[in-house]
Amino acid sequence: MSVRIVRVLTRVESPAEVVFHVRGEEVERVELKPMHCRRVEHALAGLPAEAVPAYVSRICGLCPIAHQIASSHAIEAALGLERPPEAALAVRKLALLAEHIKSHTLHLFLHALPELFSYAYNSPQDVFTLSKAEREYPKRMGALIAFSDRVLAELGGRGVIPMISAAGGVYSRLTAASRDKIEKRLKQAKAAVDWVRDLLYSRRLLDKAMVDKELYDLPERIKLVTSASREELWGEVKVYAAEQELKLIPAVSLLSEDYSREALLTGPAARYLARGGSIHGVMNLLSHIRIRLDEVKACIDAVEKALNEPRLYHGVLRERLKVSDSQEAAALEAPRGTLVHYYRIKRGAIAESRILTPTMINMSTMIMVANRLVELASDLAFPRDYIIGKTMAAIRLFDPCISCLYHTVEQL
C-alpha cells in the first residue's frame, strides 16, 4: 500500500508542502501543495491604473522591482505612452540590475550554497550553521546585499520593496552623492563574488556535489522562455506588447495533475542559452549555480558602467498618462525568469489583469525534475529520507520563489 509523507518545503522564499507517495522504501511520486494563498488579480480589479505598480510590488518582497517595471510598461503601453522619459528608463534599468544582484545573492547564500556545503561537511547546512563554521559567509553575503540595497534605497527610499517605478516614469533620479555611496560598496561586492567563485572552484564545492549529479539533471527536451525570444536582451528591460503571447505559456497550477508535460525553462539558465551559451552548460541544476554567480558579476559590472550614464542624473522623470480604454501586456527578465503583466483598463481603472510569474513557468519543469529524481533514486535503491532530502534540494536549486507562485493561488 502506498502512503503519503508530507514535508514542509523549507529554505525557499515561502514554504510549501511536498507530498511524497511512498511504497516501502520506494518513493513513487511527488506533488507540491500550497500552504498559503493570495488573489492579487482579484484585488487589482477596480484599482486606478496608476496605483498598480506599487500594489504588485507586494507580490514578492524579493523581486518587487521586476513587478513594478513590468506593470508600469504594460500600463504605459495601454494608455498610449510609447516611450517613457529617458531618465525613467535609465533608473529602471539600474534598479532591475540591483534587484538581480540581490535576488541571486539571497538564492546563493540562503538556498544553493548551503546545499553544496552539505556535501562538503557531510551534514545538512543552512545560513546559520555556515555563519558559524565559515566566518566570512555572512560578511560576504552582507557585502552583496549592502551594495544592491544601496542602489535600491538611493532610488526608492529603502532596500526592501523600494518605490522606484510608477506608471509614466519613476519617482526619483540619482544624485552625485548617491553615486558616491553606491561606488563605496562596489569593491566589497566584487570581492564577495570572487570569494564565492573561490568556494566553487578552489575549494571544489561544486565537484563535491557531483556525486549526485545525475539526480539534478533536467528533462532532455526543454523549451526556452525568455523575454528576448524576439529581441536581443541581456540585462536590459525591453517591452513586447502582445496579449496573445500569454497563451503561448501555459499557466500551471501547483497541483501536479494539472502541470504541462512540456519542460519549460526560464531564468538565468535560459538567458545563458539565449546569449549563445552551450546546452550542456544548463542541463544540470548544479551548473545553474555557476550561471547565477556569473549573472551577479555581470550585473555588478553593468551597475558600475550605468553609473556613468548622464540620463540617470537629468531630465523629466514622469509623464502624465491619458485616461483611455485599452489593453496591453509587457514582459521583462525578472531575476528568476520571464515575467509578464497584462492589463485591460477601462476609464482609468483595471478591468482585468493577468500576471504570469517566472516560478509559474518553471513549476512544470520543477515537478518533472522532482519526479524524475525520485524514480532514478528509487531505482538506485537510495534510502527514502535521502531521496526526500534531495528532491527538496532540487526544487530549491531550481527556483525557490514560491511567493511568486502564490500570487494567484485560491483558497483550498
Binding site: P15, L47, A51, Y55, I161, Y171, Q411
Partner: protein
C-alpha cells in the same frame, strides 16, 4: 556572542518581504546570526515549531492550516510578535481574500510592528531591545511629524480633489494644501515619511497611531471637503487596512 532567547520566524500568506527584511541590513544581520533559531523555514530545515521564546509572525491568516499553525505557535512560544501590516491588520492580503484575518484576530499578540514593509529602523530597535533586555515602543506620533514638507496651512474644511499630486505642486508644501489626499495625519510615524520624500502621499501602510483606524479616519475625513468618487476614495484609504476591521 550568542543570546539566550530562541527565535521562531513564521510566514503566513504574504509576500516574503517582511522576513527577508532581517537580511537586508548589516546591523540586523549581525543580530540575527547571533540568535539561536528554533524555527525559520525560509532559511533552515525546521519542520515543526517546537518551543521558542519569541515567535515573529508575518503575513495574514487565510487558510485553516495557517490558523492551526498560529494557535500552536501561540501555545508553544512565550512571546508573539506580529511583523508587518499583513500580520497586524490583514494588509494587502485582506483585500484579496475576503476571509483573511490579521494575527491579533486569531491569537493574542504581545507586540506589533506594522509597515509594508516594516521600517528597518523599527525592526532594528525591536531586535536591540530584545537582546539587551530593553523596552521597545512604537512611535505614537504620526507621519506628519517626520514629514519634510511644510505643515498644513489650510483650515477645515480642506478641499481634496486629487489622489496623485498635481503637476504644478510646490516641492515643499503639504499635499493637503494642494488638494491632494495624504493619510499622514492618521498614520503612525516611524518610516521617516519615505513615500513623501519621493513625492508620493502617504497611503497609511503603518496603520493608525492609536487603536481605531475607522474612527480616526472618520474624524479626519469629516474635516475634508472631498470632491472625489466614493469608490476611488475607498480604494485609497483601504489599500493596506480594511476600513471597519478595527
Amino acid at each position: 556572542m550568542e543570546y539566550g532567547e530562541r527565535w521562531a520566524v513564521i510566514q503566513l500568506s504574504g509576500c516574503s518581504g517582511c522576513p527577508s527584511a532581517v537580511f537586508s541590513s548589516p546591523v540586523l544581520q549581525d543580530l540575527v546570526y547571533s540568535m539561536p533559531v528554533a524555527y525559520f523555514p525560509m532559511v533552515t530545515d525546521s519542520q515543526r515549531v517546537l518551543s521558542a521564546d519569541i515567535a515573529v509572525v508575518s503575513g495574514a491568516v487565510c487558510k485553516r492550516a495557517e490558523e492551526e499553525l498560529l494557535k500552536r505557535v501561540r501555545e508553544s512560544c512565550s512571546k508573539l510578535v506580529a511583523l508587518g501590516t499583513c500580520a497586524v491588520y490583514g494588509g494587502v492580503v485582506s483585500r484579496e481574500v475576503e476571509s483573511a484575518k490579521a494575527v491579533p484576530e486569531v491569537v493574542e499578540v504581545d507586540q506589533v510592528i506594522p509597515g509594508c514593509p516594516p521600517p528597518e529602523k523599527l525592526v532594528g530597535e525591536f531586535l536591540i531591545a530584545e537582546v539587551s533586555g530593553g523596552e521597545f515602543r512604537l512611535p505614537s506620533y504620526n507621519v506628519c511629524k517626520e514629514c519634510p514638507r511644510a505643515p498644513l496651512r489650510r483650515k477645515p474644511p480642506i478641499r481634496v480633489r486629487y489622489l496623485e499630486p498635481p503637476e504644478e505642486l510646490q516641492a515643499k508644501a503639504c499635499f493637503l494644501d494642494h488638494e491632494t489626499l495624504c493619510l499622514g495625519p492618521v498614520t503612525r510615524g516611524g518610516c521617516g515619511a519615505v513615500c513623501i520624500e519621493l513625492g508620493v502621499p502617504c497611503h497609511g501602510c503603518l496603520g493608525p497611531p492609536a487603536k481605531s483606524y475607522t474612527s480616526q479616519l472618520a474624524n479626519f475625513l469629516s474635516i475634508l471637503d472631498i470632491q472625489l468618487e466614493k469608490s476611488k476614495l475607498m480604494q485609497f484609504v483601504s489599500r493596506y487596512i480594511r476600513v471597519g476591521v478595527l
